[in-house]
């Protein structure tokens, strides 16, 4: 992004008369001033804490007192820590299940909402967008109540239908499913909005031409809609994967990574070690690993996207 912003060829402006001093000098200061606030904010709220985190990850800092440099010890401990691997695999599993689900859900709902045959679109939009307006903490509590093992609504329905109540809170896999459902429910709204905008931008003429050629609805969707919204899909998948890897507040209030520690995600693990056990150095090391993972995901997806575009 920054690379294009300071592209000298374009900034040089229209033709210059030879012999005059180059005018681009003026453009040096203005962009800097205009971007100044952002640069300062980026520095204060991203580079500084990020750098501090990196520095802490090489120390035994506990939040108070002095931080002693201990080299790579935190990282060595980390790579030998089974809890870290459990948290990592569970986080990845969550992302792998929830991201496609969220993608399919939001795209389906968006497609329905732009269809000409659907009635009551505004009301439906409101209903589908509602979860986005709820704080993740509240969302977690709502889902905890619904899937409460002893007196939850879902188990009530299940027992009414004559089946045995399910262990939504004490079975690790079912508990993960509840988290996946809650995350999908919460994240669909925003992605749906993005998709609605993208779907509306697909030229109608393509569909009309395809219809004349005898393409059915699925073929039109597969060969016109999907390719046309590919950049949007890329954006949605990228944002959802990053969001899934960073899911915290909702899980914390839903089942706090339970049962036990079976569904502790990386972010929670960082929180537990950093804030509860006051092992800031170690938690910083885990955060750095998470940063690397998130960066790799972003770069991998950008690479795939660029190859497809090329």
């Amino acid at each position: 992004m920054t690379a294009t912003a300071i592209d000298p060829e374009r900034l040089a402006g229209p033709r210059k008369r030879p012999g005059k001093a180059p005018r681009r000098v003026q453009y040096r200061l203005a962009p800097l001033v205009l971007a100044g606030v952002n640069i300062v904010l980026f520095g204060v709220f991203f580079v500084w804490p990020g750098g501090l985190g990196l520095a802490y990850s090489f120390t035994d800092y506990t939040g108070i007192g002095t931080a002693n440099f201990i080299g790579l010890e935190n990282y060595e401990r980390l790579f030998g820590d089974p809890t870290f691997y459990t948290a990592l695999t569970r986080t990845l599993l969550f992302a792998v299940i929830s991201v496609p689900l969220m993608y399919v859900m939001s795209l389906s709902i968006a497609s329905l909402l732009v269809s000409n045959y659907v009635k009551g679109k505004s009301a439906a939009k409101l209903v589908f967008f509602f979860p986005w307006l709820i704080s993740p903490i509240v969302a977690g509590v709502i889902w905890r109540w619904m899937f409460g093992e002893s007196f939850g609504f879902v188990n009530y329905v299940v027992t009414r239908l004559g089946a045995d109540p399910l262990a939504w809170q004490t079975d690790p896999d079912l508990a993960l499913m509840v988290v996946v459902m809650a995350a999908t429910w919460g994240g669909t709204a925003f992605n749906m909005l993005i998709f609605i905008a993208a779907l509306k931008n697909v030229p109608r003429a393509y569909y009309e031409a395809a219809e004349i050629d005898g393409a059915n609805a699925w073929q039109r969707f597969r060969h016109i809609t999907l390719p046309s919204i590919a950049p949007t899909s890329f954006l949605v998948i990228l944002l959802s994967s990053l969001g899934a890897m960073k899911e915290f507040a909702m899980v914390q209030s839903l089942n706090s990574g339970g049962p036990g520690t079976s569904n502790t995600f990386l972010i929670q693990y960082i929180y537990e070690t950093g804030f509860k056990r006051a092992d800031v150095g170690y938690a910083s090391a885990v955060s750095m690993i998470l940063l690397v993972i998130l960066l790799s995901i972003a770069m991998l997806q950008m690479w795939v996207n660029r190859r497809r575009a090329a």
């Binding site: 108070i64 409460g148 093992e149 809170q169 004490t170 339970g258 036990g260 056990r277 006051a278």
Partner: protein, 422 residues
């Protein structure tokens, strides 16, 4: 908050317009007026807003505003810690633990304590012989039963000391209630190490104690028995596993009327009194196997050094006068830290009498957790912030992730890792 708004609005009305504008600006969080003291606490609403009512009364009597900030319990220690680092501590607070980070900024409360006769065994001196804090009120672990279910099943529970039951007898009793009434569970227990400690005390274990060599140890046999018992009753039959392993709310479960008994504490009385209408509940004596014990706790009063410390000390002193202290105990359902007061708990009198009897009959170990936490902090030893290995490992035990010996070993290892003695 509301009080401040009314006050500021009042000032605004009385003063000229530019002045009132200043009033609004000056009403910001950090400044405060000369006669406003900032008081941080947690959960006052749950306790009937007793402190708020006393603050209102104090304002009427003295014109000094006590501005109460009710902060969620989970966030409280972090907020104070951050405030200390940002030089923004309140003037006084009711805290759950003393943090080394602000330990040296506390006023000595020994005068207040001695003037009003706070119980001796609750006063711990720091290295300088000062008493930086003492409990504003006592809480004790206790047992509640769903009287409706017990009566329906025709099962009795002890209300006098000569009828004390063992944990085994208790579990068979709740199983009987469950079978006879179709109740969902026999027992729920708060997912807290505080309650677990009390269970261990009742099994004759002293919990995990810090020795002179700066390592923790435990009475293996008794602790094993207690933890094994805990693991065994977490079977989705006697106790719902969801409470310990995934944060289900035991209070809500008990209030559903489908649970025979609830192992919690004295602070629930006011809540139950107000919010349980569908069935009858009662406080019962806790089982002893063989030892009678509870686990004492409560909020610690601290006054921070600074411009307002004199005003804050005056308020604390006022609060602990017999008349005012009796009043807050009655409003909030506090067990008093001052003996000899005549407190009228109204309809909850039976529960509180039972608690007072239980506290009096309990083994001295029951005040160990709170006192040793203070001693450790005063001695400059650190025990690792908010870490709670006892609970964390017990959760894994209840979730079937590990067995009892591993749990004990992990707790000791984790406690030892966190403690550092100078």
């Amino acid at each position: 908050m509301k009080r401040r708004l009314i006050l500021t609005a009042g000032t605004a009305g009385a003063a000229a317009l530019p002045l009132s504008a200043c009033g609004f600006i000056g009403g910001g969080d950090d400044e405060g007026d000369a006669d406003t003291i900032k008081f941080w606490l947690s959960g006052d609403a749950n306790q009937g807003g007793g402190f708020q009512k006393m603050a209102d009364k104090y304002f009427e009597e003295t014109g000094v505003t006590v501005d109460i900030d009710d902060i969620p319990y989970d966030d409280f220690n972090t907020r104070l810690r951050n405030a200390a680092q940002a030089d923004g501590l309140p003037d006084l607070a009711r805290v759950s633990a003393i943090d080394p980070i602000w330990m040296n900024q506390l006023e000595d409360l020994s005068d207040v304590a001695s003037e009003h006769g706070v119980m001796e065994n609750l006063l711990i001196e720091n290295e300088d012989g000062e008493i930086p804090t003492f409990l504003t009120d006592l809480t004790a672990v206790g047992m509640y039963v769903n009287k409706t279910l017990f009566d329906q099943a025709g099962v009795t529970y002890p209300t006098t000391a000569d009828q004390i039951w063992t944990w085994d007898a208790f579990i068979s009793a709740v199983k009987e209630v469950k079978a006879a009434t179709g109740a969902r569970y026999g027992l729920v227990m708060d997912p807290s190490s505080h309650r677990l400690r009390s269970l261990m005390y009742q099994f004759g274990s002293d919990g995990f104690l810090l020795g002179d060599d700066c390592t923790y140890s435990t009475d293996e046999a008794a602790t094993t028995e207690a933890l094994q018992f805990f693991a065994d009753i977490n079977d989705d039959d006697v106790m719902p596993r969801s409470v310990w392993v995934s944060g289900d709310d035991p209070n809500a479960l008990f209030k559903s009327g489908q649970v025979a008994a609830y192992y919690s504490g004295s602070w629930q009385v006011a809540d139950f009194q107000a919010n349980i209408a569908d069935f009858e509940w009662a406080s019962a004596l806790m089982p002893a196997q063989p030892r009678r014990a509870t686990n004492l706790g409560g909020g610690y009063a601290v006054v921070f050094k600074g411009d307002k410390s004199k005003a804050s000390l005056d308020f604390v002193n006022w609060l602990f006068t017999a008349e005012n202290y009796t009043e807050i105990c009655e409003i909030s359902g506090f067990l008093p830290v001052i003996q000899g007061l005549d407190i009228d708990y109204g309809t909850s009198q039976a529960s509180f009498d039972l608690y007072n009897e239980e506290i009096a009959a309990s083994d001295p170990i029951s005040s160990e957790q709170g006192n040793s936490a203070l001693e450790i902090t005063y001695a400059g030893q650190t025990s690792g912030g908010d870490a709670d290995p006892l609970k964390d490992e017990a959760v894994k035990l209840a979730n079937g992730e590990q067995d009892v010996p591993t749990t004990i070993a992990n707790i000791i290892a984790s406690l030892n890792e966190n403690i550092s003695c100078e």
